[in-house]
């Protein structure tokens, strides 16, 4: 089984997702059928533990949030490969496999589902090894099977993305989370990898395109071992509300909001763990993807000057809607609060510093507020 949510066959608008996580590379160092890779620097590539976990996390998010997707979930297909020795638990009955042929077949079926209705939402997610020369190439599980042309097991993703513009689905989201251990300089020749579909350069971009790419330079920048990659964590946080904005129907995450905030959210996620990350987005238009509850906003509340912090009693009180009042001795204070309006205050037991208060609007992705307490 690879279709975690089978195609419901509906001809109404649906969200159709294809999620791929390639951690096990059969023919690379440490793989099940490992052999020496001699072409270019392919021998530098190793097994990864993060991609299948990232793909499963993304798939789980889609299933969990399905009721709140603006366009109901119509199908979810997941292709995974797991590195030898990786103890990742797969869903019951799930058959792993993310070779190029499997990706090709799943892509074609997904493409057909997406093409059924112009209001469909197409979601493509890939996590695994990638590299870049004239375009970006994503490496499938059987990458390197052919020693003379290891690229036969890769996908030319930029050409594929451009080709997908011809699909009727007006909302097209591509999330590419690739670990790039081989630089273009190391590749003397252009990889001979093909796209999953041909493309016509005269086809205009889809009306609502969100293509977000992260290309970590090495495994350390990619994510924690046996954990979800930094980029996927950032993407899930964005979808859960860190990229949300309020509207007439409450809080909503739009494609444009993800594009606008994903870099900052990635910096928050990776930075907190001592990692780093960089991503680029290309968008046309903006359309709602998912409704969320009022998001949780990380807040840093501090006093100025800094030496006022240990002496301060800080309070955080909702105005109108929001969480209950909180109080704490000593700052700076890091808290997570529901988005909304608050009154922040600092008071002191002596007159070394001046008591201060301010109205604060807590909105995602994060806010920092300093209370002026100079005597």
């Amino acid at each position: 089984v690879t279709l975690l949510v089978p195609d419901d066959g509906a001809h109404d608008a649906r969200t159709h997702a294809l999620v791929i996580g390639v951690g096990g590379y059969r023919h690379l160092d440490g793989g099940l059928e490992e052999f020496e890779q001699v072409l270019e620097h392919v021998g530098l590539l190793r097994q990864l533990t993060s991609p299948p976990r990232s793909a499963l996390a993304f798939a789980a998010w889609l299933q969990d949030r399905a009721p709140r997707l603006r366009t109901p979930l119509g199908s979810l297909e997941v292709l995974l490969s797991v590195a030898p020795g990786d103890d990742l638990k797969l869903p019951s009955g799930f058959v792993p496999g993310a070779a190029r042929q499997a990706i090709e077949e799943a892509y074609a079926a997904w493409r057909e589902r997406c093409d059924r209705h112009e209001d469909n939402v197409a979601v493509f997610f890939f996590c695994g090894h990638g590299l870049e020369k004239a375009e970006q190439y994503l490496l499938a599980e059987d990458f390197g099977a052919n020693k003379l042309n290891p690229w036969a097991g890769a996908v030319a993703i930029d050409s594929t993305r451009l080709g997908f513009n011809a699909c009727r689905a007006r909302t097209q989201c591509f999330f590419i989370d690739a670990c790039r251990n081989i630089t273009s300089r190391m590749l003397l020749r252009e990889p001979q990898a093909t796209a999953l579909e041909v493309f016509d350069h005269t086809t205009p971009e889809s009306q609502f395109n969100l293509t977000a790419k992260a290309a970590a330079r090495n495994e350390e920048a990619f994510g924690p071992p046996r954990g979800v990659s930094w980029f996927t964590q950032a993407l899930l946080r964005a979808l859960d509300g860190a990229a949300a904005r309020p509207g007439d129907r409450g809080w909503t995450v739009e494609t444009g909001g993800i594009a606008a905030h994903i870099s900052e959210i990635l910096a928050m996620v990776a930075g907190a763990e001592g990692g780093s990350g960089r991503c680029s987005c290309s968008t046309t238009g903006s359309t709602p993807l998912v409704d969320v509850d009022a998001p949780i906003v990380p807040v840093v509340l501090a006093c100025s000057p800094q030496d006022a912090n240990p002496a301060a009693t800080l309070s955080w009180t909702p105005i109108g809607q929001g969480d209950g009042a909180l109080e704490r001795l000593g700052g700076p204070w890091r808290l997570e609060t529901t988005a909304g309006m608050y009154q922040a205050a600092a008071r002191f037991d002596d007159d070394r510093f001046r008591a201060a208060e301010a109205h604060v609007l807590a909105t995602p992705p994060r806010i920092t507020r300093t209370l002026p307490c100079e005597p």
Binding site: K133, L162, R185, F199, L210, G340, M341
Partner: protein, 502 residues
């Protein structure tokens, strides 16, 4: 039951005046109530029903100030909006307001990664790219603290120019400069762990254009549309292409992004024809042609051939000013390459060339920025260190004392005393500042870091009694204009240093 809410949009920087800001007002349930544009510094007046409101004032960089306001019936309420809080320094406001870049860093330019960090300008001439001298008259340091430096450069008009940065631990990187009377540049330390150790921000200072560009780069197409509706900016920019071709290019990219090909009219064609040094015009025109190439096969073939010629033309001109153009150039060439089944050698060569730039580029920045030893040599893993001796450059913040000695600004053997005249030192031949207690320093950054770390008695300010000048005056000479490095110490020592107040 209404009252007036007056928002005072407060900023302090001279350069940041007139930057557009987006004001959003929401009710306590965070439902939108009003949305308008204002500018810094300035006022926005809103008539609202009495009640409590959330107010968010956002700049194009994505930063915002969020406040709460209570509006009372038939009363005027004034709410100061301290936009200056978004920048750590008033001289940096324009950059923090308009550019999607990292937050203020905990590091300073005095820290070790920035030892001997330098910059230089390149210009494109008939023979190709070459580093250009920057006379003192053509560069103005607007602010110069260890948290970041801002400049205004005046490069030659109507030819491609680049800013290159590098250092002992800073990879050499080029940033395309929009031709303008005065180009604003800010260089500051990047956050720890960032891909590149310096944040380099450039702008033509046309804040209306910069706002559109930044919104587009951040993927905020809805915000860009809204700003365009407010200012009708895209057409104005394209219409005035001769006066400001880079603004016209931004307008063109915007209209492509929102697929409003009708508003592009024939301006993209004219931009490509009239501004021969700029690669962006042909790229925009090529994509306009692609968009029109549907339907009739003959027409499609003809338009595709024209678009191909435009993309090759763009590639021959070098690289576009804007990152958006770099991506469109690659995508267009990639399409032609695939359609021709890899048999169009001209297209393939152009594609490989643009891919080299893309691989070395930072796609998150609005202006084309790529790691490179020289503009025509993009490289993902470029060199670090100082440029060749003969090539003009200037230091960003830390100045190695060795260069001060080599440039003859301080003669070797000079005695230096600290501000309180309690500590003495000597400048040695190799650029070592040796304190009388034996401790040695090799640059201003090292002195500052040592002093900040609380090491005993490390003065930062030193005067040179024999020259009647300060050590920092000598450093400032090499920060304020470009110079060529000198392999050996000069004979005419001390003559180049303007006397200070010491």
């Amino acid at each position: 039951m209404t009252g007036r809410l007056r928002l005072e949009l407060q900023s302090h920087g001279n350069e940041s005046a007139g930057i557009p800001v987006r004001v959003e007002v929401m009710d306590p349930a965070m439902r939108p109530v009003a949305a308008v544009w204002g500018q810094t510094p300035g006022q926005v007046d809103l008539s609202l029903e009495a009640g409590l409101y959330a107010v968010r004032v956002a700049v194009a960089s994505g930063r915002n100030v969020a406040l709460v306001a209570r509006v009372n019936d038939e009363e005027d309420t004034t709410l100061p909006v301290p936009l200056y809080d978004l920048s750590p320094h008033e001289g940096h406001e324009w950059a923090y307001f308009t550019q999607p870049m990292a937050r203020p860093s905990h590091r300073t330019l005095a820290d070790q990664p920035y030892e001997g960090a330098w910059l230089r300008l390149w210009q494109h001439e008939d023979e190709g790219w070459r580093p250009m001298p920057i006379p003192e008259a053509d560069v103005e340091r607007l602010s110069g603290g260890a948290d970041g430096i801002t400049y205004r450069f005046r490069p030659p008009a109507n030819r491609p120019c680049l800013l290159q940065t590098g250092g002992a631990q800073v990879p050499w990187r080029c940033t395309a400069l929009p031709p303008a009377d005065g180009i604003f540049v800010m260089i500051k330390p990047a956050e720890t762990g960032a891909d590149y150790p310096l944040d380099v921000v450039v702008s033509s200072g046309n804040w209306r254009v910069q706002t559109l560009l930044s919104l587009l780069r951040r993927g905020d197409t809805a915000g860009a549309r809204d700003w365009d509706r407010e200012a009708r900016i895209a057409e104005k920019m394209l219409f005035s292409k001769m006066a400001d071709p880079t603004a016209a290019a931004v307008g063109g990219y915007f209209l492509l992004r929102i697929r409003d090909f009708a508003r592009l009219r024939n301006w993209a064609n004219n931009l490509a024809n009239w501004i021969g040094w700029m690669a962006d015009g042909p790229i925009i025109h090529a994509w306009q042609l692609f968009a029109q190439a549907d339907g009739d096969p003959e027409r499609r073939e003809a338009l595709t051939a024209q678009a191909r010629a435009r993309l090759l033309e763009a590639s021959a001109r070098g690289f576009p000013l804007y990152t958006e153009g770099l991506r469109l150039l690659r995508d267009g060439l990639l399409g032609l390459h695939r359609t021709a089944k890899s048999e169009d050698r001209e297209v393939e060569a152009a594609l490989i060339r643009v891919a080299e730039y893309l691989s070395a580029a930072d796609p998150s920045l609005p202006t084309t920025t790529f790691l490179a030893v020289a503009p025509e040599r993009p490289d993902e893993e470029p060199r670090m260190g100082l440029p060749d001796d003969a090539e003009p450059m200037m230091f960003v913040y830390d100045v190695p004392f060795q260069e001060i000695v080599r440039q003859g600004l301080i003669p070797p053997g000079s005695r230096l005393v600290d501000l309180g005249e309690t500590v003495e030192a000597v400048m040695e031949e190799d650029g070592t500042l040796r304190l009388d207690d034996g401790r040695a320093f090799h640059g201003q950054g090292e002195l500052e870091v040592g002093a900040a770390a609380g090491e005993a008695e490390i003065p930062v300010a030193w005067k040179i009694p024999s020259l009647g000048a300060w050590l920092d005056d000598a450093a400032d000479v090499l920060r304020s204009r470009s110079f060529s490095r000198i392999p050996e110490a000069r004979e005419d020592r001390g003559d180049a240093l303007p006397a200070g107040e010491a």
